[in-house]
Assembly symmetry: C2
């Protein structure tokens, strides 16, 4: 498999594929590095097409030495052609990627599937996350299916319906008195003290790789063709950038040809730190102190 | 295509494939009749495997002369292996068919997809149904995608969340003062007066065919093999019997071999007219006057 190492995004320092997310030298974030030069496009396409109907059909591009088997997977969700929306917009074709068809109804199933496969490979017994919604559901459900113990840290004032939806999977819900930022900080501290796998802290480099599979699926579902334009929501920006990365990798291998799509990021009016910075031509976001949007999954004021 | 006619379940009288659901001679219910004798198993399997990732891959077994194209489809939902449940039950393998991955999150997307394809073929402009939940969502969503006008009749005291979930698709919600039975009776009357397609009244013979696709998918996902046992919920009993019909048709064509699975029907304790009749060895159900269950989709007291 093409996966090679963890690599610092800033200084390029390399590390073995362990539960590590910060560079020891420059404190830059780590990501997974691959050597795709050995992949033949025809062979790779055949391997994809004969693979399972889950994200594991793309395991040449995921951080494992062999294709993992997981109790619950994700992906291969419908790409729905929306002709009436296209007509309304005055363009020829619009497709909607319906990731609500994932096991817990969001794209978080993709990233958690990858994180939990790594959790099992590394031998962790306990998996955890801080979340207020979709991630909590995904971690609780995939941990239950895998027979792993799980802890989900939530702000104590979270809505009852959300607590119920996550609790139904039998996870250990820990209510923390404080804001979501406080919960997150607690989890980062805990990840240093406990031998737990926090999917979006010490497992983050693997976790983030799962988002690329949306790009792979869209391209495959279009008949191994690139879309002209991609409109995707932006919260932390991780999904958005990983979709581009997915297309880049397939262009590099020769599974696709042509130019990268134009990318449009979508943010809520009441929480648009990235869109505002882009509009003003600034390189750094000004945090939104009080996000105000019904799109709770996009309410990250300081990405 | 093997589809032939509408046929009375009681007296066998045949009718053309129109919007008709009751026999003119004996008032028996009509169903779709096929002649499957011309289907070669190898050719049929290849046609299925090269078909779209929707129920339309099974159109040899659906009531159309050619494979329909619909704005929104359904089906090819995950069959999830549940090893921990199997262990708990003390058996070797358990699989769960996750039909929540359909566009509006229930198996009603299957039956409505088939009904709406027939609606368009027959040239109706307005589609309607009586419902209190899943069917309402499916009709509203598929009608919107197809650009058809739709009416959904609901009891006036329906919960606000359900009304919202259906209303979001832009259907015409008609609140009727009365019970669900009253709403249903009104729809049956209206289907005689208006030139509307009521998916589960005058379109019912086609609508019901959609349920067979669950059996087709399960068999295909198991590698063209029959399961030993099927556990399925029973409300009206239509889904339950059509799953068996699906397996029977594939056995007849030679796509499957072996014996039909054992079938277990599941009902709620607070609304079990079929289970009670079965237990008592009676051929006819005694209606449950006041269904009492949180499984609202199974709360049909007089199936």
């Amino acid at each position: 498999m093409p996966v090679e190492a963890l690599k610092c995004k800033e200084c390029g320092e390399r590390y073995p594929l362990e539960a590590k997310f910060v560079c020891e030298h420059c404190f830059g974030p780590l990501e997974v590095a691959y050597d795709l030069s050995g992949l033949d496009p025809d062979e790779t396409r055949r391997r994809i097409q004969s693979g399972p109907s889950t994200i594991w059909r793309y395991s040449d591009f995921l951080p494992f030495d062999r294709r993992p088997r997981t109790a619950l997977a994700a992906g291969v969700t419908p790409l729905v052609r929306a002709d009436r929306l296209a007509e309304r917009l005055g363009i020829r074709e619009v497709w909607v990627k319906n990731d609500a068809a994932n096991p817990t109804h969001s794209f978080k199933d993709r990233v958690v599937t990858v994180a939990l496969a790594k959790v099992r490979e590394l031998g962790y017994r306990v998996v955890a996350c801080a979340s207020t919604g979709n991630l909590a559901n995904a971690v609780a459900a995939h941990a239950a299916a895998a027979g792993l113990e799980s802890y989900v840290f939530i702000p104590a004032d979270l809505e009852e319906q959300k607590v119920l939806a996550t609790g139904v999977y039998g996870t250990r819900l820990v209510a923390v008195r404080g804001s979501y930022d406080d919960v997150n900080r607690l989890c980062t501290q805990l990840s240093g003290e406990r031998d737990w796998a926090f999917v979006n802290v010490n497992l983050r480099p693997y976790y983030a790789e799962g988002s690329k599979t949306i790009a792979f699926e869209v391209a495959e579902q279009l008949g191994f063709e690139l879309p002209d334009r991609v409109v995707a929501p932006v919260a932390s920006g991780s999904l958005f950038t990983k979709i581009a990365r997915g297309f880049e990798e397939w262009l590099q291998v020769g599974l696709l040809s042509g130019d990268l799509p134009t990318f449009n990021g979508a943010q809520a009016e009441g929480c648009a730190p990235v869109a505002s910075a882009f509009e003003a031509g600034r390189d750094v976001c000004r945090p939104v102190r009080f996000p105000d949007t019904i799109a709770k999954s996009l309410a990250i004021g300081d990405p």
